[in-house]
C-alpha cells in the first residue's frame, strides 16, 4: 500500500512485475529483430527516455496530490522554443540550459493560478491551457520548424562526468531531490494528505494552496528541464512537439503504481514504467510496426492497468466517481 515507505531499494510486487515485463520485452524483441539487442539500440532507448523520466517525475507528484496536467507536451514545447531562441541568439550554452526549467516553472505558476485560484478541476484547466499553448506554439514558430540550432548546448550536455553522461546525473539528482522532499520533509506528507483528501488536509491545517502551487511549479520546472534536453538532443523544435507526451507520462506513472486518484506514489515504479514504455515503443518500431501505432499501445496499456486496478479493488469505483469532481 505504501510504495514510498518500502519501495526505495526493496521493490514491491508492482515494481517486480514491471522489471520482469521489461526483461521479457527485451527477450522477445531480441528474438524478433536482429537489430534489437545491440549496445547502440540500448543507448537509443535510454536517450529516448530522458525527457519522459523528467516529465514523468513531475506527473507523479501531481497525480500523488490528486492533480494531473494534460498540457505537459505543449509546456515542453514552449520551453523548448525559449531554449531554442536563446541558443539562436547566441546566449551562452550554460545559461540557455537554465532557460528551459525557468520557462517551465513560470508556466507551472500560471497553471497553478488557473487551477488553484480559479478552482477549476486540474484535468479541465490543463486541457484548456493545452489548447491555448498549442496555438501559442504555432504563433511563435510562425508555422515553421525551429531548426539548425547551434551545437553549444548539445556539446555541453553531451559531455560526461565521472564516466556518466550529464543527463544521467541530472536525472539522478532530480529523483534524489524528490525522494528527499517526499520522504524526509513535511512537503511529502502534505502532498500525500492532499492526494488522499483535499478537504481533510485543509481541516488538518495543511497549507493546501501553497503545496498545490509548489507542486505545479516543480512539475513545470521538470518539464522545462526536459525541454532543455530535447533541444540539445534534436537541435530543432517542430510544430507538433510533445503531442504524445502527456499520454506517455500518465501511462508510465500509472503503470509504475502511482494512484490516478492520488495519495500514493512510487519513484522506482515511475522509472520502470518509463523504461517499459520506451522499450515497447522502440521494439515495436524495430519489428516493423509503424510508429502511428505507438499511442494505441500506450493508451491500451493505461486503460488496461486502470481496469486491472478496478477489478483487483485497488481503486474503488465509487472513488472513481468522486474523482471527477
Amino acid at each position: 500500500m505504501r510504495q514510498l515507505r518500502n519501495g526505495v531499494f526493496s521493490l514491491n510486487g508492482r515494481e517486480w512485475s514491471l522489471l520482469v515485463a521489461c526483461i521479457l520485452a527485451i527477450i522477445v524483441f531480441s528474438v524478433a529483430s536482429p537489430y534489437y539487442a545491440t549496445s547502440g539500440n540500448a543507448g537509443t532507448v535510454l536517450r529516448n527516455s530522458i525527457e519522459l523520466l523528467l516529465v514523468g517525475l513531475g506527473m507523479m507528484l501531481l497525480l500523488a496530490m490528486g492533480g494531473i496536467d494534460v498540457s505537459v507536451g505543449v509546456v515542453m514545447g514552449l520551453a523548448a522554443i525559449g531554449v531554442g531562441r536563446a541558443l539562436g541568439a547566441g546566449v551562452d550554452p550554460v545559461l540557455t540550459a537554465f532557460v528551459g526549467p525557468l520557462t517551465g516553472a513560470l508556466l507551472g505558476l500560471l497553471t497553478a493560478a488557473v487551477i488553484v485560484l480559479g478552482r477549476v478541476p486540474a484535468i479541465v484547466g490543463t486541457l484548456g491551457l493545452l489548447g491555448v499553448y498549442r496555438t501559442a506554439i504555432f504563433v511563435l514558430l510562425g508555422g515553421q520548424w525551429l531548426s539548425g540550432l547551434p551545437t553549444g548546448l548539445t556539446l555541453l550536455l553531451g559531455t560526461t562526468i565521472l564516466g556518466l553522461p550529464v543527463a544521467a546525473w541530472v536525472i539522478a539528482l532530480a529523483y534524489l531531490a524528490v525522494w528527499i522532499a517526499l520522504r524526509r520533509t513535511p512537503f511529502g506528507l502534505h502532498l500525500l494528505a492532499i492526494g488522499n483528501s483535499e478537504e481533510k488536509a485543509r481541516l488538518s491545517g495543511i497549507p493546501v494552496v501553497k503545496i498545490r502551487f509548489a507542486t505545479f511549479i516543480v512539475s513545470g520546472a521538470l518539464t522545462g528541464l526536459a525541454a532543455t534536453f530535447y533541444v540539445a538532443n534534436y537541435r530543432n523544435v517542430e510544430m507538433t512537439v510533445g503531442s504524445t507526451l502527456a499520454l506517455d507520462a500518465i501511462a508510465a506513472v500509472v503503470l509504475g503504481g502511482t494512484s490516478i486518484l492520488g495519495g500514493r506514489c512510487s519513484l522506482v515504479g515511475t522509472v520502470l514504467g518509463v523504461l517499459l514504455l520506451r522499450i515497447l515503443q522502440n521494439g515495436l518500431l524495430l519489428t516493423g510496426v509503424p510508429s502511428l501505432w505507438q499511442p494505441v499501445v500506450t493508451g491500451s496499456l493505461l486503460i488496461g492497468v486502470l481496469g486491472f486496478e478496478v477489478l483487483s479493488n485497488r481503486l474503488s469505483l465509487s472513488r472513481l466517481g468522486w474523482a471527477s469532481k
Binding site: 520533509t185 513535511p186 502534505h190 494528505a193 481533510k200 481541516l203 495543511i206
Partner: protein, 256 residues
C-alpha cells in the same frame, strides 16, 4: 466562576439560501465540559467548524479571553489553542499514525534551510500519547487506513492532546465506538476538563451527556433553544427541547 475562555456572539452561517445557524450566543469555560445537543441538521457541526476555523461565520463575533479573533483557516484556530476532532475525523488514511498526529505541525530540524522531519522524536511522542490513552495500538507506523473506528478515534484524540489545546472540541466522538472504547473516551473527556481544558462535546446519546457534561446546550434548526446546568435539568426536559415539544421552544418558534 472564571471568565469564559471563548465567547461567541450572534453567530450566523448561511450556505447560499440555506441558513444553517442564526444568532447563536455561547460562552465556553475552561475546566468545563459543555455538551452540544440537537437533532440531525440542527447546526452543531457547522457551529464547531466556525470555532475550528474551517468555515468563516456569515455574521457574529468570536472573542477569546477578551480579544476578538478572526480565523481564516484551521491553522489559525490551532494557533489560538483550539483543537477539533471533526465528525468525519479528518485523518489521512494513507499516512501513518504518527504522521497523522503531527500532520500540519510536524517536528522538524533545519539543515541548510531545508526542513527535515524528526521522525524518531515524533514516533516517541506518539508512543507516549497512545500509552497514556491506553489505546491498544502497538505500532505508530501503521497506516491509519488499517485501523478500526475506535482506534481512529484514539488517533484523532492524540492529535488534539498533542496540540496542548486550551479548548478541545469533539464532534460525536463515541458514535462509532464499542462500549469499552466509549468508556475510555468519556473518561478522557473528564480528564481533559480536570486539567483545566475547556471541552465541547457533541453527542446524540443523552445518558452519555448526563454522565460527563457540566452544562448542556440544545440547538434546533440553527438556533440555540436552551442552556442548562446539568444539576438543574433532567433527560426528559432536554429531549423535549431537542424535539421541540417543550413549551419554551414552541413559543420561540411561534414568535419567528
Amino acid at each position: 466562576m472564571t471568565a469564559p475562555f471563548l465567547v461567541a456572539k450572534g453567530i450566523a452561517k448561511r450556505f447560499g439560501a440555506l441558513t444553517a445557524l442564526s444568532g447563536v450566543d455561547l460562552e465556553i469555560r475552561s475546566g468545563e465540559v459543555l455538551a452540544l445537543l440537537g437533532d440531525n441538521g440542527a447546526g452543531k457541526s457547522t457551529f464547531i467548524k466556525i470555532l475550528a476555523g474551517a468555515h468563516p461565520a456569515s455574521d457574529g463575533e468570536l472573542v477569546i479571553e477578551g480579544v476578538p479573533v478572526a480565523f481564516s483557516s484551521p491553522k489559525d484556530a490551532a494557533a489560538a489553542g483550539i483543537a477539533t476532532i471533526f465528525q468525519e475525523l479528518a485523518l489521512s488514511e494513507n499516512l501513518s499514525i504518527s504522521e497523522n498526529v503531527f500532520l500540519g505541525r510536524e517536528l522538524k530540524r533545519s539543515v541548510l534551510g531545508v526542513p527535515f522531519l524528526r521522525r524518531a522524536d515524533m514516533r516517541q511522542r506518539v508512543d507516549g500519547l497512545l500509552k497514556e490513552l491506553d489505546a491498544h495500538i502497538s505500532d505508530p507506523e501503521a497506516p491509519v487506513g488499517s485501523l478500526s473506528g475506535g482506534q481512529r478515534q484514539a488517533v484523532a484524540i492524540c492529535r488534539a492532546l498533542n496540540l496542548n489545546a486550551r479548548l478541545v472540541i469533539m464532534d460525536e466522538p463515541t458514535a462509532a465506538l464499542a462500549v469499552a472504547e466509549t468508556r475510555k473516551v468519556l473518561a478522557l473527556t473528564r480528564r481533559l476538563a480536570e486539567r483545566g481544558c475547556a471541552v465541547v462535546l457533541i453527542s446524540h446519546n443523552i445518558s452519555e451527556v448526563f454522565e460527563v457534561a457540566d452544562r448542556i446546550v440544545v440547538f434546533r434548526r440553527g438556533r440555540k433553544v436552551a442552556e442548562r446546568l446539568r444539576a438543574e435539568t433532567n433527560p426528559e426536559e432536554i429531549v423535549s427541547f431537542i424535539t421541540g415539544a417543550h413549551p419554551d421552544v414552541r413559543a420561540l418558534e411561534k414568535a419567528n
